[in-house]
């Protein structure tokens, strides 16, 4: 898929990563334009439902970024978040979502360059994966869950998977 440009939602914390992105901007550092930034008060505000909602509604990947551990504006928001992120990452990978689609990182307000590099890497990763072809809301139009189906009829989904 040579000219596929992924849509990526970036959840950036207000105090470090958003400011880091700002710094990248005012420093005129070039980075891919695939990300759509959503500012959150703290990386601790991130809920797994935000991530899967975005994937369901049509983005190809997610980047979540907060302050480096120890630098959180709220002291420990990112440390609580780190535990949640670890489980999210493992769980999504376990059920079969590519680990590169959902990435977590830390960027401080002084790290404009790091921000640009991370966005570059995430965009490249997701570009390589191609568009998200499963789980999207409209992927299953032809395959409504069949209320009369039972486990004896395992074939009614065939074709919906990874088409």
């Amino acid at each position: 898929m040579p000219d596929f440009e992924p849509k990526i939602v970036a959840f950036l914390c207000n105090w470090c990563s958003y400011a880091g992105a700002d710094l990248a901007g005012v420093s005129r550092i070039q980075y891919p334009t695939n990300i759509r930034v959503i500012k959150v008060p703290c990386s601790g505000r991130i809920n797994l439902l935000y991530i899967i909602r975005a994937l369901q509604k049509g983005v190809d990947g997610i980047l979540v970024s907060g302050c480096h551990p120890g630098d959180c504006h709220y002291i420990s928001g990112n440390l609580f978040a780190r535990r949640k992120f670890a489980l999210m990452k493992k769980f999504l990978e376990y059920i079969g979502i590519e680990p590169e689609r959902v990435q977590f990182t830390w960027v401080s307000a002084a790290e404009g360059t790091r921000f640009a590099q991370v966005v570059e890497k995430v965009t490249n990763d997701i570009r390589k994966l191609g568009p998200l072809k499963y789980f999207r809301k409209n992927d299953y139009n032809d395959k409504k869950c069949n209320f009369s189906s039972t486990s004896e009829n395992p074939n009614f989904l065939s074709g919906a998977v990874n088409k």
């Binding site: 440390l79 609580f80 535990r83 376990y94 059920i95 079969g96 990182t105 830390w106 069949n146």
Partner: protein
Amino acid sequence: MKSIESEIKDLIKKLFSEKKIEVFIGYENGTLPLRTTPYFVSPNDDLDKLAWNRFCSNNLAVYLPRVVAKKKGGNSCKVGILCKGCDSRSVVGLIKEKQLSRNDVFIIGIVCPGIIDTKKILSEIKSSDIEHIDEDDENIMVKFKDGKKNFRKKDHLYECCINCEFTTPFVYDTLIGDGKSSSNTITSSQKVAEFSAKSRQERWQIFEQELTKCIRCYACRNACPNCYCKECFAEQTKPKWFSVTNDLSDIIFYHIGRIFHQAGRCVDCGACVRACPMDVDLRLFTRMLVDEVKERFGYDPGLNFEEAPPLTTFASDDKQEFITEPS
């Protein structure tokens, strides 16, 4: 098992007469053979109906917060409950999450012999043919019109009961049964390891395939003691997380949400799996988080009162191997 049943009844009678409890949550036999149903006993109710057998599968802890809230009418009477090993872990979880206080409940702990999967038996015989059921140490003996059949208990257990390490309740006020203690540590599940070894596509395919069976009845949520939220994300309208449709995408959304909400809380009691009318193998996914939490944070849900649940705390040196570094 008769004697244990009468032991429980005597104990409840005593608790009622001493006004130690106001209501008791136990089991009675269901209207269908090989099934039981929860029984809420008040002092004047018929205790003879109360049952304890190898089909008492419900995790009764799910009712506790509501029953306790109802009974808190100014007096200090408690709610009594019959708890198997896993149920007692759920009660501990509820206490730690401040849905109950230890003083609200009187726990009759029962050393669990493993619960029998009715569906496994019914895959071999028809429920309508059954005339009489009896049990001894090894077998369930089912008599029907033209003959009888023995079912080895060991071979007909629920999946989560097969390698259960928590058969003896962790907290109780009285313990019934022979308390040979269980090992009480989580060992990682083979099933999860086997699933992880599959390719990514295969894993997603299996996940999706399992969930195509789901009819979104939410029984799995309602049966789970951890799902006490007054307003579940599945029904929230502000924000509305996902739509009420039969689109597989929305069904997957619900399950990712629900299963992840159990991270660090699930006690692997299997109540969600048993509640499912469509036989969705939810345990394949809930169990992964149990193992992961144990491995990463060394936490066993429902096995102590002191340790903070893993997602309500942190360590400054928590592992962060998953963080993306610019390359």
